[in-house]
Amino acid sequence: MACIEARCLRKTFGTTIALDGVDLRVEEGRILGLIGPNGAGKTTALNAILGLIPFQGEMKVLGRDPWGARDQLMRDVSFIADVAVLPRWIRVSRLLDYVGGVHPRFDRAKAEGFLAKTTIKHASKVRELSKGMVAQLHLALVMAIDAKLLVLDEPTLGLDILYRKQFYDSLLNDYFDGTRTIIVTTHQVEEVQEVLTDLMFIDRGRIVLECSMEEFESRYLEVMVNPERVVAARALKPIHERAVFGRSVLLFDHADHEQLAALGEVRRPSIADLFVAVMSNQAGHTQGAAK
């Protein structure tokens, strides 16, 4: 069964089109990375999935209409909408009391277990914690909830590298069990590369690339060539080209590995490389034609 199924999702704010007819299908047990430039519509898409904003089109999240039944949906869906949305005035112990009091799937002992691994004290107020500790606290709460779908919107923004690494490590080791579904948006693409099972690029309200990580790894290759071989390499129709230390790096979709190996050093591109390639093709579509 699909965890999320959406057809022709549209959302406009005044004259700005945030989502422009998005079709989306996320299967259970996937970890989807939703990646796009600022203002691409990532947060709008997530907000629509979470029932925080009304939208046009059809969508079912775990079989429910998110806008019509947010409170029921939230029994099975957890989300961290942003860093630092925990109320600053609340004490950690009371936060646990409250979530335990309203959430049928919250396991307090589990949350206490996660917190025991951190330096967060039960008597502290959220405002007394550092940004990284607030993120740890929120993650501890969310991981103690037995949800079917977890949505993370820039969950590590502004955290230092230790906290970011730890965040995704605990998510994979202590939370993800192969049946839950996770959707994550982030600008720190390189950090989630090893975590994701699926990849989706979104730009100006449209999905511009959608593939699984296996597909990503088999489809895309990058080759670094010396100047004298650039023309030969260009003949193979790269989707993107950039210069590094006087040599050219060309990115290919569905190219033959041996053919490329003859031209230069072949390697697997990172998500960030592909992202830059896809986005500059989007933005430079008309410029490229003019050239």
């Binding site: 907000n47 979470l50 925080l52 904003i53 009304p54 947010r70 409170d71 029921q72 949906l73 939230m74 029994r75 957890s78 989300f79 961290i80 909408a81 942003d82 630092a84 949305v85 925990l86 109320p87 600053r88 005035w89 609340i90 004490r91 009371r94 009391d97 409250y98 979530v99 009091g101 309203v102 959430h103 049928p104 929120h138």
Partner: protein
């Protein structure tokens, strides 16, 4: 299903004991109200501070009490009673007024604060409906504050009574004149009635404040108050009348002559007139407005995100 102990007689008690633990029943409304009290400590603290100030004031005012009491007891009983009752009623009124101010400011911030600090995104990530949230917030001025006010007033008056009695006994007088003229138990029943009547009468004010706090992006107090002032001034300037201002005054103070019948020829303990109060169209119209405002605020919160 294949639990062997299923066959043991008397097990229903056992399984009943286990069932709630595994289902872990949640009480979103109860916890939402508690949450409001954690966040807004002024709900308890402000009336307590006022009570302490009132008690200190009363303490100072009792200098020379025995002499004055002797003079008061020479008056006719109704006047004596009014004089003895007076400080207790003043204390109650100050605390009721405090509760009203706290309630209005609480409501003005209730849906604004969570948007300002972005915590609305956290609250909305939990399985608590907007209706439950709004009901828990409306419960604060309509039920929680009146109850807290009731408890604090009764305790304050009791302390005042004890202090007066001690002072009178020290001066060789009987404290009975105080206790008979201000019977605490009977007075607290009247107080409870008054608090319920006031809360219901002011319900549309709190509802309006909640709606504005969910709607306005900033300056909730101004948005809540200025439109009414503007209409009042407009009417005064254009037509030279002040019907609107009178209507507002009626909404603020109008409960008193409806819920109580003040004796014309003495300021004796007023008669309770719940029949008259409950049959006033203004009460029900006000409650209708309150329900409309809260319903609108529920709808609004659904669309609202952080500021």
């Amino acid at each position: 299903m294949n639990n062997p102990s299923n066959s043991v007689p008397g097990l229903p008690i056992d399984s009943q004991a286990i069932a709630p633990a595994s289902a872990s029943p949640t009480r979103p409304f109860y916890w939402s109200v508690r949450r409001e009290l954690w966040e807004n400590r002024s709900i308890c603290v402000a009336p307590l501070i006022v009570a302490v100030v009132v008690l200190l004031g009363f303490l100072v005012s009792t200098i020379g009490l025995p002499e004055r009491r002797r003079a008061v007891l020479l008056l006719d009983p109704a006047k004596a009673r009014a004089a003895i009752e007076m400080p207790y009623n003043v204390a109650a009124m100050m605390l009721i007024f405090t509760a009203f101010i706290v309630g209005v400011f609480y409501c003005l911030d209730a849906l604004h604060g969570e948007r300002r600090d972005r915590s609305i995104l956290f609250w909305k990530s939990l399985p608590v409906s907007d209706l439950t949230t709004l009901l828990s917030k409306a419960t604060i001025p309509l039920a929680v504050l009146p109850l807290i006010t009731f408890a604090i007033i009764v305790v304050t008056q009791f302390v005042m009574l004890l202090w007066t009695s001690a002072l009178l006994i020290l001066h060789g007088m009987s404290p009975a004149s105080t206790w008979t003229n201000f019977p605490l138990f009977q007075q607290s029943l009247i107080l409870l009635y008054a608090l319920v009547a006031i809360a219901l009468w002011h319900a549309p004010i709190y509802g309006w404040a909640l709606l504005v706090s969910g709607w306005a992006r900033r300056a909730t107090f101004l948005w809540a108050v200025l439109p009414f002032l503007a209409i009042g001034f407009f009417e005064k300037i254009t037509f030279g009348t002040s019907h609107f201002a009178l209507m507002l005054k009626h909404r603020l103070m109008g409960f008193a002559p409806l819920a109580f019948a003040f004796n014309a020829h003495s300021i004796d303990c007023p008669q309770l007139t719940p029949g008259k109060y409950l049959s006033t169209p203004g009460l029900w119209l006000g409650l209708l407005f309150a329900v409309a405002f809260v319903t609108a605020a529920v709808r609004l919160r659904r669309y609202r995100g952080p500021l």
